[in-house]
Symmetry: C2
Subunit: 217 residues, 2 copies
């Protein structure tokens, strides 16, 4: 499947020219981020909570404490959604009305299931860790039996998805181009700072490669 | 009111030591961001959509097209929620298990209402614009009657709210401090790039002060 089917859930009605249902494009947005907003219904109200994730194939993995309300609510639902948002810039038009953002956002829908098999759990945690900081899994002390036992790991098989992408300069009304108002784009980027070593290190250790090599995209 | 009351909605159960219900702290998180994830229920499924916002007093303003499904759904709900998330760093522990993020996240709950008065609408759009790019409202061409007419502006009066903040180094299990594994924090920051002038500018214009003065925090 190269394209997700449009459904009542994933179909983008506002600015459809910015929409994509292409699987590669949606997955590229998912893979270049690692925090999603996972949404659940609590007493009739929709709530979204930021949480780390990783993707393997058509599956997204989340994790948390066993009694985490968000995870338990996701598991209870027939269909859940996750939103991933990159903010790439401020689009400064001549008119306030045409101000916008450059962004890449994706939304995925699917059914959540609890992973109980020890090996599958461990693999899912590796997928999440490696999506956040590539290379860190092999540097750090990997999860032991007790840590695996007290961690809930949830898989969401992606059934519907779409993305919305805006790039480029502002688009003003024709008559506004004559105004003496500067217009353009202010790019925004997430930049890693210098790694800060834990003061509790018992002896000087070189900074891990995963920290030195980390880049946002 | 200096503190929000804890309710079933805003009470933080995971890592309660990182929770705050202090109004000033919650509002500081809201005011240092301008994209929230607004959550609504569609056919039983919770969906969250990124959107710009601004705060004035105890009210958050959102805007969009008149038929925007997210805004219409918010207006239909008895109680809605908005999430705001700052990602400040990757917390790299010795164990995979204790890896975490440094972050400041806030969630607010309230009832959404449509703003129909022309002046109130205009003021709300000013609040949103100035929260995103301080100074831009007076530089740009302000909304005309038709633009105000075709824009839906929604106010959410904040009734419940809380925030969760993590700062500082990793926290490992006592026995792991003897491992020869580097641990620390990789700070992450949103940095504005150089403003890119619209190629469609009819004559060279100096870059607007709002773009030159912009900083994330």
């Amino acid at each position: 499947m190269a394209e997700f089917q449009k459904t009542a859930f994933n179909k983008i009605n506002r600015s459809p020219n910015r929409a994509t249902y292409n699987k590669d494009e949606v997955y590229e947005i998912l893979d270049s981020h690692f925090i999603c907003h996972a949404s659940y219904v609590y007493q009739g109200t929709a709530i979204s909570i930021p949480t780390g994730y990783g993707r393997h194939g058509d599956t997204i993995y989340l994790h948390g404490a066993l009694k985490n309300r968000m995870l338990l609510s996701l598991l209870d639902a027939d269909k859940v959604s996750l939103s991933v948002t990159h903010l790439d810039g401020l689009v400064m038009a001549r008119s306030v009305f045409h101000h916008s953002f450059n962004y890449r956002s994706a939304i995925v829908f699917g059914k959540a299931r609890l992973i109980e098999d020890r090996e599958e759990k461990n693999e899912a945690l590796k997928v999440i860790t490696e999506n956040i900081i590539p290379g860190r899994w092999d540097e750090a002390r990997q999860p032991n039996d007790n840590e695996l036992k007290i961690t809930a790991v949830v898989a969401i098989d992606i059934e519907e998805a779409s993305a919305k992408i805006r790039t480029g300069p502002p688009s003003d009304d024709a008559e506004d181009y004559d105004l003496d108002i500067w217009a353009g784009v202010l790019p925004l980027q997430v930049i890693p700072g210098k790694p800060v070593s834990d003061e509790a290190l018992k002896k000087p250790l070189p900074i891990s490669n995963s920290a030195l090599d980390f880049s946002w995209d």
